[in-house]
Amino acid sequence: MARRVSETRRWTFTILAWLVALAIFFPILWTILTSFKSEADAIASPPKFLFFDWTTENYAEVQSRSPYFRHFMNSVIISVGSTLLGLLIAIPAAWSMAFQPAKRTKDLLMWMLSTKMMPAAGVLIPMYLMFRSFGLLDTRIGITVVLMLINLPIITWMLYTYFREIPGEILEAARMDGASLSKEIIHVLTPMAVPGIASTLLLNVILAWNEAFWTLNLTTSKAAPLTTFIASYSSPEGLFYAKLSAASTMAIAPILILGWFSQKQLVRGLTFGAVK
């Protein structure tokens, strides 16, 4: 009897999990399906799910109109660059907070997080003026630094959480063996925190890849990533859903594939320390 109950329960949860997964994935699936429709089919009512004239003309149109590869490379450089730069600063910061906490460390962490609560539009004009003065408008280096600064609180917080799980005694032992501070961080702490660092890296690459406010406002053409590429296919006058869907699919495909292959790492990283 007990076995039957658990079996029923298992099936119920499996079905429920599939339904939730489908509901979450549905917008992406719909975008991909729409990208293969004609503009007329994209607005058909009732909507056409699978039975329509499949076409790749939207992809051809998008390819001919926009330099996809240039936007793609900008996205890769900006998202990976900003994350690596962030890790370089956040690893020592998280180390000091996790292993050498001071009286106000918790307050400092909260303050760092509070910068994320500031509306971005509020600092757009000062940022724009600074970028103009330093000649950073529409440059990869400029937008990389901005995205690094935006994601730095999250990177530091995540690393701090992972580092807290590592016993301080191991670092102490390394110190007693004569390891310098840099050796302690590079050769002892970092290898032990690799899973945490990897998931922080992945999550922040995704966040930087999807960032739209600053990338749209501070880049024009030379440094414009895929967010600008998508924005160019929206229009208030005229039908554009199929072409926009094709552009969106092309923009999200790389990050979707990366997420798919690294999902175990991501889930492990995100649930790290959740159950003790």
């Binding site: 749209l216 406002n217 414009a224 208030p236 039908l239």
Partner: protein, 435 residues
């Protein structure tokens, strides 16, 4: 000798390397619509004739473009050499000194050929500050078959009462056919574009000559009451979320009897590749109340004063808005695809008249638009479906939210108007009006 030869060859090589570096790159910010995208594909004659000029396109959604370009121009960022702006912005930006006057556009440019209402809206103190790429007004697009079934004949310019009567008769909710589709989505360029022009034809202005908001007046009450009533009775469900594109989709799939909107829609609804009702569409002038409903919009190309390549930019603007470009598009893609609504000569062209059945109502609508006298009473501003002050974008959207709520049934017409009056009074006082 050999030294000299080597030196000469070296100089030649250096020159060859330096030539591409000397080429000027024009960054052009533009919107994503059919005419602009077509232009991007047809620039070869220009780049062939001007090998020292390279073109870099930045295409953005209208609202993103507006925000992006405004930030850049106001801070003199210099990111764009040519910007696509509407006729709402041109006089305001020209007054601020943000745009370069378009003089010396070449002997064959023929600025006098630009339709007078459009040219007037883009000029300040007699100087043209932006060149129109395409222009539009509003018209009624209607289903001829449904009109016939309802036993009615559409006049050349109907009254609002005729439109309401026809909408009720054409509605068949069981077949998902709605007599009338109008904008309901909140926004200064969405529902407020339509409602500003509709109310003006009822004799309702935004402000009196002292810049006092006029939403508490009888004319606004009548206009908004009629709008909400007809949309509730004969409009599609969820109309408060419908903007241009949503109504376009409804009309193209045969769900609207009539649609009053920008004339540019005519080329979409009559395109058999996109529209299921392409062969059943008729066109009429926008309705008439105390005054005809007026609407005037132009997407223009302007040269910001922050550009470091004003001469090359002007050269491109002159080419893109010339008669020669129109002829080039006609030769490549047919007369029906040329950018409409900017030049008198286009509407005198017999081939264009033949290819575009909506040419006459479009021209008549544009020519009847009077930016300085949009309604029955004197007003201190210019604009037919917008008010030519910088505060209008925020104010129009805030008021539009109230009217959209009235359409959705979340507020009564009286409440919406009262709120609109309060918001407008507060914002105008904050902005320091009367100035």
């Amino acid at each position: 000798m050999s030294m000299m030869l080597r030196g000469l060859m070296g100089a030649c090589a250096m020159t060859a390397l330096a030539v591409p570096a000397m080429a000027e790159t024009l960054t052009i910010a533009t919107v994503n619509n059919g005419d602009m995208i077509r232009m991007q594909k047809m620039t070869k004659p220009f780049t062939d004739a001007n090998p020292d000029i390279q073109l870099e396109w930045v295409t953005l959604e209208e609202n993103v473009l507006r925000q992006r370009v405004t930030t850049d121009i106001a801070t003199k960022g210099g990111q764009y050499d040519i910007v696509t702006v509407g006729n709402y912005e041109v006089p305001i930006w020209a007054k601020q000194g943000w745009l370069t006057p378009l003089e010396d556009m070449g002997a064959d440019y023929d600025a006098d050929d630009i339709l007078p209402p459009i040219r007037e809206g883009l000029s300040l103190d007699g100087k043209l500050y932006a060149a129109p790429f395409y222009g539009e007004s509003a018209m009624i697009m209607y289903r001829k078959d449904l009109m016939e079934k309802a036993g009615l004949t559409m006049p050349e310019r109907p009254t609002w009462d005729f439109v309401y009567d026809a909408a009720r008769k054409m509605t068949d909710k069981s077949a998902e056919v709605y007599g009338i589709c109008l904008r309901g989505k909140a926004g200064w360029g969405e529902n407020m574009a339509f409602l500003t022009s509709m109310a003006a034809s009822y004799g309702a202005p935004w402000f009196d000559m002292e810049w006092k908001p006029q939403f508490s007046g009888e004319a606004w009450k009548k206009a908004l009451t009629d709008y909400v009533a007809i949309m509730t009775e004969a409009g599609p469900p969820g109309a408060s979320s419908n903007g241009f594109n949503e109504n376009l989709a409804l009309f193209q799939t045969g769900k609207c009897g009539m649609w009053i909107d920008a004339t540019v829609a005519a080329s979409f609804v009559s395109n058999p590749k996109e529209s299921t009702v392409a062969d059943k569409v008729g066109y009429a002038l926008a309705p008439e109340g105390e005054k005809p409903q007026m609407w005037l919009w132009a997407w223009t190309l302007a040269v910001p004063s922050s550009t470091d390549a004003p001469d090359a930019a002007k050269k491109f603007v002159a080419w893109a808005t010339s008669k020669a470009y129109t002829e080039q598009v006609a030769a490549a893609e047919g007369w029906a695809n040329v950018p409409p609504g900017t030049r008198t000569s286009l509407y005198e062209n017999a081939e264009y008249q033949k290819a575009a059945p909506f040419a006459k109502p479009t021209l008549d609508s544009i020519m009847s638009a009077d930016l300085k006298n949009p309604t029955t009473v004197e007003v201190p501003y210019i604009g037919t479906q917008w008010v030519g002050i910088p505060e209008f974008q925020a104010l129009g959207t805030a008021v539009g939210q109230q009217f959209s709520a009235a359409l959705a049934g979340q507020a009564s017409v009286d409440q919406a108007l009262q709120m609109a009056q309060q918001i407008a009074e507060r914002e105008m006082a904050k902005a320091g009006y009367p100035k």
